[in-house]
């Protein structure tokens, strides 16, 4: 399952993947992911994928398992640390970015996600 606030990811991948679209912030995606992890879903991609900082890009997509199982402590650990990391950044810059830049950030988020999805298992 993909949890994302990036509408480009949603529109491009919705027919092929199970997507939970969040109408909210990067942090909202992390918090929703944390809730899912607490419910027993496993984190499959790193929630801080890409080296773009939380105060640069407003968009985030995370992949978790489709099925839930026992609580995965590794996943808990990674998502909790990601939220702590996120909260260290000053968020003011996000407010002033233009539509063109938003499109670019959506594209980067999509390509980073695709670099994970293209891998054969």
């Amino acid at each position: 399952m993909i949890i994302t606030n990036n509408d480009l990811v949603y529109s491009k991948l919705k027919d092929d993947y199970n997507i939970l679209y969040i109408d909210g912030s990067f942090r909202d995606v992390l918090v929703k992911t944390r809730d899912k992890v607490h419910a027993g879903y496993e984190l499959l991609t790193h929630p801080l994928s890409s080296s773009l900082k939380p105060n640069e890009t407003p968009y985030k997509s995370v992949i978790i398992s489709d099925k839930k199982g026992k609580l995965n402590f590794n996943s808990v650990y990674i998502i909790e640390d990601a939220i702590i990391e996120y909260d260290k950044f000053n968020m003011n810059i996000i407010k002033k970015i233009s539509e063109k830049i938003r499109k670019d950030f959506k594209l980067i988020d999509l390509t980073v996600l695709e670099s994970a999805l293209n891998i054969n298992y």
Partner: protein, 431 residues
């Protein structure tokens, strides 16, 4: 004995000045560049509609933004292959023979591949102290893409423009006599054991950013995300076997210049045969998928064990998720009974008191820091801005009001190219 040693001689030709001239050449420590030749070379690529070339010397009141890559001009003088194999030279194994280097010169590429920007080099003032590239005589390329060029193609075209111009400048040094020659020798595993039976054997795990558009690194032309962890001779890297396509996270990305001049490799060679036996470099990627991170770090540990090393140095690239690769490498290698030293940087908040990394483990008990990227700095205005000055207000690591009316900038250290480099190619640290 000689047959079991890979030996590279690096010949440094010291460059103290750079100037435009009728004819490109190197004379008495000055690099003369024919501007039109360089422009023509860039415009061979039909993805560019125009190109401009400028000079930036140490101490000049110049700000370069947004920096994409920095490349040192080198040329093979003797031995197989050419610089940047698999990219602009054939895929032949490099790292032996002789290579000449224009030491003190660099090609800097700038470009607005996407709307948001980062990567500042100030040639003067407090900003200059944070970046090693302020000390170089830089040829700065500003290339304008044709309309509608996709970001992927733009990134690739810009990357190749940098290599081609660096190769062009490097070729000027082909027949010159170096001012200084440095010799680097890597014996085979068995030879190394015979030569230094009592010295601790050390490998270097070099982590490479590999996550998609503007986040990639190439090894002999191969996208690192598609490779398993593998081994490479350190001298291959000095001949450009690893190049950077990583344009994000200015402060802690490894530019091509960093790869060519990797200080961990330089220092390990310096101690080789004295206090330790430098066995080889293990290159490992930093992918998005957690399963990839598991696989790649398993492989790092397996190779370190197979090589029978006593210790490894691990260097990271980038922010956030690579902290997980770093800690996985550390834990798994340590669990084989091999000591690790990690090199990273910190995002410890503006006052430096927050948790530094997005991951941690008790086994990570020997860590070298490249500095705190969240630290706020003030950059005074410069007389001249090369690149795309109009984007300064959209720099990453800036915040509301970070660009002031007089052209000065208040921003986090993360905006400066190479400021908190995780190979230690900088002057910041923490104790």
């Amino acid at each position: 004995m000689e047959v079991n040693v890979l030996k590279l001689e690096l010949g440094y030709i010291f460059i103290k000045d750079i100037q435009f001239a009728e004819q490109s050449k190197v004379e008495n420590g000055t690099l003369y560049v024919n501007k039109e030749d360089v422009k023509a070379l860039i415009l061979e690529d039909q993805n560019f509609k125009s190109a401009d070339v400028e000079l930036a010397r140490p101490g000049e009141s110049i700000r370069i933004i947004p920096v994409k890559d920095v490349i040192e001009p080198r040329v093979k003088v003797e031995g197989p292959g050419g610089i940047f194999p698999g990219m602009i030279s054939k895929v032949e194994t490099v790292g032996s023979g002789k290579t000449n280097v224009l030491k003190g010169a660099a090609v800097v590429t700038t470009g607005k591949i996407v709307g948001f920007q980062e990567g500042i080099i100030d040639m003067k003032g407090p900003g200059a102290e944070y970046t090693p590239f302020s000390k170089l005589n830089n040829l700065v390329l500003k290339c304008e893409p044709i309309d509608g060029l996709k970001q992927h193609e733009h990134e690739k075209a810009l990357r190749f423009a940098g290599y081609k111009v660096a190769e062009y400048l490097g070729n000027l040094a082909k027949s010159l006599t170096p001012d200084e020659v440095h010799t680097f020798e890597t014996p085979s595993l068995t030879e190394g054991l015979k030569l230094y039976p009592d010295l601790p054997r050390v490998a270097y795990v070099l982590m490479l950013q590999s996550q998609g558009l503007m986040h990639d690194t190439y090894v002999y032309g191969v996208d690192a995300k598609k490779s398993l962890t593998t081994m490479i001779y350190p001298t291959e890297i000095m001949d450009g076997a690893i190049v950077s396509g990583n344009c994000v996270s200015a402060c802690d990305k490894n530019t091509t210049y960093h790869h060519l001049n990797n200080p961990v490799i330089q220092d390990l060679f310096e101690q080789h045969g004295k206090t330790l036996n430098f066995v080889c470099v293990i290159i490992s990627n930093e992918n998005v998928y957690l399963a990839d991170k598991e696989r790649s770090s398993n492989w790092s540990a397996k190779l370190a064990e197979l090589l029978g090393v006593d210790g490894v140095i691990v260097s990271e690239e980038g922010f956030g998720n690579p902290d997980t690769d770093l800690i996985m490498n550390c834990k798994k290698i340590e669990s084989k009974g091999i000591k690790t030293v990690l090199i990273t940087d910190e995002y410890a908040g503006r006052d430096g008191t927050s948790q530094s990394l997005a991951d941690a483990d008790a086994k990570a008990n020997a860590v070298v820091s490249g500095g705190n990227a969240n630290e706020v700095i003030e950059l005074p205005p410069m007389d001249k801005v090369i690149g795309h000055p109009e984007v300064v207000d959209t720099i990453a690591g800036g915040f509301d009001g970070s660009l002031h009316d007089d052209g000065s900038i208040t921003a986090e250290l993360q905006v400066i190219t190479g400021a908190t480099n995780e190979m230690g190619f900088n002057r910041l640290s923490a104790r």
